[in-house]
């Protein structure tokens, strides 16, 4: 997995590239701990995210709970394979997917 960030004031876009699995999820989780400080508008760009497992969903849930307190969060460019997992777990209705 690779993470690319684009910050524009209090808006942050995070591109998650590759696989968000049990091996890589802790890295994203750690990154978000500090990256979300002062962010009010968070976007995850999943254009190049090929695979997500429950470890990745947990990181998204924690991020969504935090952003509900300090702003908003959305997912964009979600692939069919990732969308299937979001649908299956009810995450699709918890999150804003554009």
């Amino acid at each position: 997995m690779e993470i690319k960030k684009e910050q524009n004031g209090s808006a942050l876009t995070i591109h998650v590239i590759g696989r968000l699995d049990a091996g890589s999820a802790p890295e994203l989780s750690k990154e978000l701990t500090t990256a979300l400080d002062g962010v009010t508008d968070l976007t995850f760009d999943f254009a190049e995210l090929k695979y997500i497992a429950s470890a990745g969903l947990r990181v998204l849930l924690v991020a969504q709970k935090r952003m509900n307190k300090q702003g908003s969060m959305k997912l964009i460019n979600v692939s069919e394979a990732v969308m299937e997992v979001l649908d299956m777990t009810g995450f699709a209705s918890l999150m804003t997917i554009a």
């Binding site: 699995d21 049990a22 470890a55 969903l57 947990r58 849930l61 777990t89």
Partner: protein, 135 residues
């Protein structure tokens, strides 16, 4: 039947996935089934790596075999850790809103959603989880 035994640590997850993928590709398994199978393997293997022997580590064995007419893959995970029946785990309530959603239970839930048959037995000190998926 083909099998592989590895130390149950997250670092070995890819080894097990690669092993399964190789056999599934030989059978011209559709891409969608391949991805769903990968997810199932990850969730079970991560569970074993995280809980079965905690705080020690131990071995996990993964077996794969195929049936024809209809085409199906049979997968079995075996570990000698603490007795644990994942089928007893309650499904998360996927209708709850964000503040009520818990982060637990998602892995096994995804396994249940992505296989057609799932059976657990505890025999001779081993957790044995059988899974069957049609493709």
């Amino acid at each position: 039947m083909e099998k592989i035994t590895v130390e149950a640590v997250i670092e070995n997850l890819q080894t097990v996935i690669d092993f399964a993928t190789e056999h599934l590709e030989e059978r011209d398994c559709p891409m969608k089934v391949l991805m769903q199978t990968e997810l199932v393997i990850e969730e079970i293997f991560v569970n074993i790596a995280s809980y079965a022997y905690n705080p020690e580590t131990g071995a996990a064995t993964f077996c794969i075999e195929f049936e024809e007419n209809p085409s199906a893959v049979l997968m079995t995970f075996i570990d000698s850790g603490k007795p644990y029946n994942p089928l007893e785990k309650l499904d998360p309530d996927t209708t709850l809103d964000i503040d009520e959603r818990d982060i637990g239970g998602l892995g096994i839930f995804l396994v249940k959603k992505n296989v057609d048959e799932l059976a657990y037995e505890y025999t001779d000190g081993k957790n044995i989880l059988h899974m069957k998926k049609f493709f």
